[in-house]
Every structure is written in C-alpha cells, then in structure tokens.
C-alpha cells in the first residue's frame, strides 16, 4: 500500500492488497472466473515484495502448495470460485487436521457445477462450513464492500494465524468486481497477528501439545524442529494413532478451539435495530441492498432494521436468539435457496421470510422493501 489513502478499486484488487498488507508472501492458484484478478494482481506484486506467486496445475495442487508454504512459516493464500472451491475441500480438511494456517478466497458464482461463471451467488455458505468431510472447525467471513473486503481479508489472516485454521473469505461476483472508492485505514491502525511460535527447545518439542490455550504453538519447517505432520488422526507428538482416547481428545480440541473462542471471532453490525420490529439479516452484496431497503422502509414509517453478518461461521446463534425475544419478524435476502435463513430459523425458533434469487441477479432494495411492506401489515 502506498501513501495514497483513497483509491478506486475492485473487491478482488482490495483483497490482493490486503493480503500483501497482512504479510502474505506465498500465493498458489488456478485461473477461474470471477476470482482471476486476485491472482493477476499478485503475480505482479508478490515478487516485488519478495514473495512467491505460482500458478498450479489445478485447485487441488493450489491448496496443497499453500499448506506446504505455510508450514515453513510463510503466510499463504489461494483464491478461487465454486468449482475450484469444490476441488480444494480435500486439502482444506488437511489444513484443519494438521492445523496449518492459510486463507482461501472463494468468489462465489452461480452453481452447482459450472453454473453461472460470470454472475453472483451466495450458494457456497454451507460448503464453507461443511465442504470437507468429517467434523472440523470452520471460520468464514463475508464482506459486502470493497473496504470491507480489505478489512476482512486482513482479519481472515489474523484469525487463521491465531487459531491455526484455514479461513475462508466468501466474496461474491458483485463485491469482487464492483469498482468503488476505498479509503484505506492508516497502517498503524491495522492489527496484524502472527501465529505463536514455540519457545520449547527442539528436543522437548511436541507439535500438538497444548497448555491453557487449545491452539498449539507452531514451529517453522526447517528451523531445527524436526517433527511429523500428517492428515491421519494423531496425538500430541504428531504421529498417527488409533488410540480412541487420544483420537477423541484431538477431534474435540480441533472444534473446541473455535467454539471456545467464538465470542471474539463472531462479528456483525446492528443497524437501526434498537426500536425495530422487523430485522433483515443480510451478508455480502445483499447487505448493500438490505441497507438501502431499511432506510427506505423508515421513510414510509416501518420500523425495520438490519443485522449484517461479517462472520458467517461461527454463526451468531445466541445473538439472534436474543433479538428474537423482542423482534417478531426476520427477513433473509440471499442469493441461494435459504442457506442462512435455515440458520436464522434454527437460532430464532421461527420461520424467517425468505427472499431468494438463484438466477444470477442481485436481490434489489425494491424486492426487500416489498417483502418488508408485506410482513409489516
């Protein structure tokens, strides 16, 4: 980032800039619409920063390469879209299991399969949570503007480093390609977190030993700590085990390190909710339409507010339950057939009004206003 503090920029460009600012120095990826600009910016910028860009043979390899790079202590990232995100699930599971920090940007487009390559979608919400097999931790963030993309890409790296998990940045084609003014934060105002390194001497080091924190301290590959990393269930020594007691401890800890810290991970914005009797729950580019819709609703006397989710996973069930104690009606606009609406129903114990589009079009403020109008009478 140079000294200019305001720029015209797309979400994809802001994502690449943020990653560099966060200290990302290794990117591996495979071309796919609508994410390719992230790779293109980084192919040019990374060598200038002393980092490495590589275009791999596919998304399976891209995901594998960033895990390999991250094991050396280098912050690493890949970027893709739906079909590529599907291929990455295998090694996202590996990163969960081996606790290797990394960031995966998924610029969502219409699916399933090749779907709508150039049009937006929010269809990968559940894949971001449950895409890889087995129980596993998940963190996914969903920015709605270019500035938010900048902030939440940096936050994704911080969360990834802090908890040693893969973190997924869910953009959508609109946020990725919209060109808007971004006012950069002052560098000194940006928090950058690096993974905690071990200070145990190599001969006593156990790669998955935890103390009070559920996150084991890290040792860079090639730094004198010769240890074993595997995708098999392992004990604190890092070596595979079938011992039920040890396997149980591992798998519970992997999920607990996120569950236990969810209060500091979960993030949302409450807008005009204090006196509201209708709450629109929105995220990503739909949050832009929702914001406009509630402002319009207020002008015609409807007490509508909104909850914008910045962090999708872990999901803020408790907070929504609290809101449900005083708000009767929830409206969920999303470019899928109700993936977050289902979670809202689960949290609030009532059925939200759904506004769904899967035709490649953005949900407009008018569509949301119409639904707000409908439920307010």
């Amino acid at each position: 980032m140079n000294s200019v503090t305001a720029k015209l920029m797309t979400g994809n460009e802001a994502c690449a800039e943020a990653a560099l600012f966060a200290g990302m120095r290794f990117f591996a990826g495979y071309p796919i619409t609508p994410s390719s600009e992230i790779a293109e910016v980084l192919a040019r910028r990374l060598p200038l920063e002393g980092g490495v860009f590589i275009q791999m043979e596919d998304e399976l390899a891209s995901m594998a390469a960033i895990i390999g790079a991250s094991l050396t202590g280098t912050k690493s990232m890949t970027a893709t879209s739906g079909p590529g995100f599907s291929l990455m699930q295998e090694n996202i599971g590996y990163a969960c299991m081996a606790e290797v920090p990394c960031v995966i940007v998924n610029v969502q487009r219409g699916g399933p399969s090749t779907g709508l390559p150039t049009l937006p979608s929010q269809g990968d919400i559940m894949q971001a949570r449950w895409g890889t097999h087995g129980d596993h931790p998940a963190i996914a963030v969903a920015p709605a503007t270019v500035r938010e993309t900048f902030d939440w890409t940096i936050r994704a790296f911080n969360l990834s480093e802090q908890y040693r998990v893969p973190v997924i940045v869910l953009l959508d084609e609109i946020v990725a390609h919209v060109n808007e003014k971004i006012v950069f934060p002052k560098p000194e105002e940006i928090e950058i977190i690096d993974r905690q390194r071990t200070n145990t001497p190599p001969e006593q080091f156990m790669p998955y030993q935890v103390t009070d924190s559920a996150v084991p301290p890290f040792a860079d590959f090639g730094s004198g700590y010769r240890y074993h990393v595997t995708g098999l269930s392992h004990d604190e020594t890092g070596f595979p085990t079938n011992d039920p007691a040890k396997v149980d401890v591992l798998h519970r800890r992997l999920s607990e390190k996120i569950e236990r810290n969810k209060k500091s991970i979960i993030h949302y914005k409450k807008i005009m909710l204090d006196d509201a009797n209708i709450c629109v729950v929105a995220y990503g580019s739909c949050a832009r339409s929702a914001h406009r819709a509630i402002r319009h609703a207020r002008t015609i006397g409807i007490k509508a507010g909104m909850l914008q989710l910045h962090v999708i996973w872990p999901f803020p069930y408790d907070m929504l339950w609290e809101l449900a104690q005083r708000i009767e009606t929830f409206v969920v606009p999303e470019m899928n057939l109700g993936q977050i609406a289902h979670e809202v129903a689960c949290a609030t114990k009532r059925n939200p009004k759904q506004i769904n589009r899967v035709d490649g079009g953005l949900i407009t403020p008018e569509e949301i206003v119409e639904q707000i109008n409908h439920v307010s009478v």
């Binding site: 591996a28 060598p47 980092g51 791999m56 594998a64 390469a65 074993h228 990393v229």
Partner: protein
C-alpha cells in the same frame, strides 16, 4: 556398519510394512545417500502422499510431511518455493504418483523444481489390499482385476522424461547398492530427479500372480534387468519383457525455484 540409527525415529519402530517388502531396502539406500552427501537433517524435508511407501516419513528424523493421496509433489512445491534452502525428497508409489497424482507428477517434472522423487513401483495398491494400478502389467491379477488387468501400463520413467525431468533413473530393489549411488547423484543434481524403483510386494502382487517368494522376485529382477547402455544397442524384440535399468536421462535444464528467486532480485532492483 552404517549408522542408520542416526536417521531413524527408533521409538516409531517396528514399521507397518509386510515381511519381505521392498520399502526397507529403498529407505536404507536413501539414508546412505543422505549421509554420503552430508546433508544436515534439519535441512531435509521428506514429503509423501498415501500408500505403503508414503509411510516412510514417519520413521525418519527429518522435517516430515505425510500428505493426501497423490498430492505430495504439490505440497513439496509449496515447501520448496517458500523455503528454497530445504532439500526436498518425495517418496511416493505407482498409484499415488501416476494415478491420483498424475497431474502433479507431470507438472512438477515440467517445472523442473529441485527435488528428488523416489517412486516405489510395485505394480499394485498395497495399502488398500491389492487393487490394480496404472503400472500393473497387462494380464497380471489384482483384487479389482480378478481375470487379469486389461489396461496397458504406464512407463513412468518415460513419462517423467517426456514431461521435462532433468534426471531419470530406473532401477530395482535387487540393485540396492547402485540405488543408493543413484539417489546420491540425484541429490547433487539440480532440478527434478526421478528414481523409479521396481520393488516387490510379496503380499498383494506376488501371491495372486504366483510369482513365488521375495527371493524369487529379486532373482527375477536380477535376471531380467539390462543396463541402459546395453539396451541402447538392442532392438525392441530383444528388449521385450526386460527391465532397462540405470540412468535413462541426464540433462541440464533451468531450475524453477532458482529462476523465481532471480526474478525477485531483478524486479526489486528495477
């Protein structure tokens, strides 16, 4: 007596390999080569995928990475590019490297990234119980080819040469001493080196195909191998059914990692 103990994680032994398996022969040859090249243990990263051979990293005292099926070379690519001072060795099998990992195999060779790949070719999927692999010879049986494999098999070394590897060797577990020397050579050679080792699987390949004992298999390797230099003077009918062993390919090519870091230096100066 060679000090193998220096490199073994003794508390991880005994290993899981069957009696008579060739994995131990290759492991020992690898350790001799590393010792002769005098590479510090901290500098070595040993990467593997999934399968019998891929269990090797667990037993040796290096930076060891046991990854997903077929993906070892892609993980290794990230390790090498992010930390070029690491000396990368990859252990993989015929199924791991040329079936599920075939794409990564040809592209790692094409990039000519500096690493040594030890490919244990036993013509079968051992870990999963004897299913046929891309290198099972036509007609030979596996649990998924009870009437004999109908598919033509891969020439792995030929594939690596065609894809761009700079150093390619084929040998067998019978040629254990030579194997160590070839690995040694590959560790001093810059670029992508493939050492294809034909190795016996007494449990899942020999038994259904009635190939006899481990000694019979090793004897078969001995009697059917012909050195590459001699093979060059032979016609195809003479070579039919034989294993051509030795250095098949040895060329100087630009190595990717070094070139990338040169690029970094260049663009940062400009």
């Amino acid at each position: 007596m060679f000090p193998y103990e220096k490199y073994l994680r003794r508390n991880r032994l005994p290993h899981i390999w069957c009696t008579g398996c060739g994995c131990g022969i290759i492991l020992k040859a690898m350790l001799r080569a590393i010792e002769h090249c005098n590479i510090p243990k901290d500098r070595i990263a040993l990467v593997s995928g999934i399968g019998c051979s891929s269990r090797t990293p667990g037993y040796v005292d290096f930076n060891t990475l046991h990854t997903t099926h077929g993906r070892a070379l892609a993980f290794a690519t990230g390790l090498k590019l992010a930390k070029p001072e690491l000396k990368i060795l990859v252990v993989t099998g015929d199924g791991d490297a040329t079936a599920i990992g075939g794409n990564h195999f040809i592209h790692a060779a094409r990039r000519n990234l500096d690493m040594t790949v030890l490919l244990y070719n036993n013509h079968i999927y051992g870990m999963t119980g004897g299913q046929v692999s891309p290198t099972t010879p036509q007609g030979k049986k596996g649990s998924t080819a009870p009437y004999g494999s109908m598919e033509p098999s891969f020439d792995i070394s030929g594939l690596a040469i065609a894809a761009g590897a700079s150093f390619v060797v084929r040998t067998t577990c019978y040629h254990a001493v030579q194997l160590g020397k070839f690995i040694e050579k590959s560790l001093t050679k810059k670029g992508f080196s493939l050492i294809e080792v034909l190795t016996q699987c007494p449990t899942y390949y020999a038994r259904p195909n009635r190939l006899g004992t481990v000694v019979d298999m090793l004897r078969w390797y001995k009697e059917n191998s012909i050195p590459a230099e001699r093979a060059r003077k032979m016609d195809e009918t003479e070579k039919a059914g034989k294993i051509v062993v030795g250095v098949l390919h040895d060329v100087e090519r630009t190595e990717f990692c070094e070139e990338y870091y040169k690029l970094i230096d260049r663009v940062r100066k400009e």
